[in-house]
């Protein structure tokens, strides 16, 4: 087990800073998810922790030790790759054993470890098979077993579920959460899928354009996003954000608005027409065209139809305000009242 510290990390590709002066503490034993749109630098960050990419400047500490100049194989790290990266010419056993062999683990111990791990991930019957004869899910397990058998201090995972079909992905997600609980090791998981991040993380690190936008547990990130980017990246559909004057804007989550055919009262209220309707089973998502723009509304009431004229209202504690720099304004800040006035002015003006 080990914590990870990144200090003043900069990574430059072709004179272009992909990551600049980044600082990040990853807690020991926690499931940390790096999430963000493609090209945000999350995979580069992971690869630098692994040692597969060398940072242009800055230090990386694993378990308090500076590993900036340590070879990937000696950092006490295991990594699961997006396409599994299973050695195709080796059997499942040889795949799992390869790292142990390189670390000069005696044969008897090796066999015991490999068979124990195979049991854990349910590969015992496949140890002598070649990877090409395995299904996607089984290959994923080989990749996991290969990582686990080394008993690493840190697990790195680079979008490990993106090659699986939807059903298997949900199942593997649960298995990974259980695995983390069982091992108690530090997990660092990269994904572009915010649902994956929300469902698995102890802590989410949301990145955009090489910068950390927010680090927080899923519920904190959902309820108090630090800026408009976070607010719109986390949550499906994303937060509705609408501009006010002076560069200020306000927003609310699709499920925070009440929906009715009658006129409603709230800190924000509007009237509009339903343009699209997506019935998802337990809930229905409506797209509403109003004079303030288009809003997505999530409701458990599926009785509304396209072209219905409806009213929405949002309570004050469900409203979010963002300043001209897109930062969220906390209710305790003076600018909050100002924003409320702006919203009211807009409503009545």
């Amino acid at each position: 087990m080990a914590s990870i510290q990144l200090k003043q990390i900069t990574k430059t590709f072709d004179k272009h800073d992909v990551i600049k002066d980044l600082n990040l503490d990853i807690e020991d034993g926690k499931f940390t998810v790096l999430v963000g749109p493609s090209g945000c630098g999350k995979t580069t960050l992971l690869r630098m922790i692994a040692g597969l990419e060398v940072q242009t400047s800055g230090q990386i500490y694993v378990g308090g030790k500076d590993v900036s100049k340590v070879a990937p194989g000696q950092r006490g790290i295991a990594m699961v790759f997006q396409n599994y990266a299973i050695y195709p010419t080796m059997s499942v056993r040889e795949n799992i054993e390869f790292g142990l062999k390189n670390n000069k683990v005696p044969k008897a111990e090796r066999t015991e470890l490999v068979e124990g791990i195979a049991e854990t991930v349910g590969l015992s019957d496949y140890l002598d098979r070649k990877p090409s004869t395995l299904s996607g899910g089984q290959r994923q397990r080989v990749a996991l077993a290969r990582a686990m058998v080394k008993k690493p201090a840190v697990f790195l995972m680079d979008e490990p579920l993106s090659n699986l079909d939807a059903k298997l992905r949900v199942q593997m997600r649960i298995e990974l959460i259980e695995l983390h609980k069982k091992l108690g090791t530090t997990f660092v998981y990269v994904t572009h899928d915010q649902v994956e991040a929300m469902s698995m993380a102890d802590k989410i690190v949301l990145m955009n354009k090489g910068e950390i936008q927010q680090e927080a547990p899923p519920e904190v990130m959902y309820h108090t996003p630090s800026n408009a980017f976070t607010a719109q990246f986390i949550g499906v559909p994303p937060m509705n954000i609408s501009a006010m004057s002076d560069g200020f804007s306000f927003g609310f989550r699709p499920e925070s608005a009440s929906l009715s055919k009658e006129k409603l009262l709230g800190a924000f209220a509007a009237h509009g027409r339903i343009v699209t309707r997506e019935m998802l089973g337990s809930e229905t998502i409506y797209q509403l065209k109003t004079e303030h723009g288009s809003f997505m509304i999530k409701s458990i009431d599926d009785s509304f139809r396209v072209d219905d004229e409806v009213h929405i209202a949002v309570k004050q504690d469900k409203l979010h305000f963002f300043d001209a720099r897109q930062k969220r304004i906390a209710p305790s800040e003076p600018a909050y009242e100002q924003s409320l006035d702006l919203l009211r002015g807009r409503r009545y003006g």
């Binding site: 070879a71 990937p72 194989g73 990266a85 050695y87 010419t89 390869f98």
Partner: protein
Amino acid sequence: MTQVFPIARRVLEYVLKLCLLMVFIFPFLWMISTSLQTFRETLAYPPTLVPAVPQFVNYLTALEAGPFGTYFKNSIIITLSIIVMQMVVLIPAAYGFAKYSFRGSGFLFSLVLLAFMIPGQVTFIPVYLMMADWGIGRTLLPQIIPFMTNAFGIFLLRQYFKQVPEELIEAARLDNASELKILWKLMLPMSKPALATIALFSFVSHWNDYFWPLVMTDSAAVRPLTIGIAMLRETEGISNWHVIMAGNVILVLPILLVYIFCSKQIVKAFVYSGIK
């Protein structure tokens, strides 16, 4: 589409293939046939393809016409040494060109390609002079040293290595494998078809090489099989085609055997399209 059309097409396809096959295989059949004829039969007009009584004695005559044991041994030592040396040189070179980016790698690789394009006839005089200078003329070395590298082999194996996903190598590095181990345990097993192809091409071209040993050798002790067979022509002033052809069959037999063993791998090397 109608039923008739595909059948007609198929017939045409087979006829064309048969023609092509004949072009390639006829000289071969003629060689075997001539090797089993009598001297008189080889001169007969019109020529016969099937000998009246197969003359296996021709093979014995060919083998007794010169020190064939020595020739054969020389050919094997030369060809195998070349293949081994080429592998020692080209495997790390191909790995370097495929998976490392270093200053001047593009330039160096174009030098390799250049070497691939220059015909041997252009360089043989300087190489000959160099070998003569080194005083190794009475050994097999002048027939081995100039061929220790194989530009085509470097090129082919590099292309093959390039197809190996980067993640596999990275996974191995995280598994604490040394570069040598990655090469030996990962890259080479995955590249067997390419290695077999390179080895076979190299084997065929050096086993059959005639020009270079002709230039470089002046005694039976260091001559390979090709020169020995060619010398059969001069034994009695008149061309004993039946004996020469028997010699030729002996010459190509090892190539045939190697091809039969390698053909599967070779086909793989050319249809290989990456790892799923």
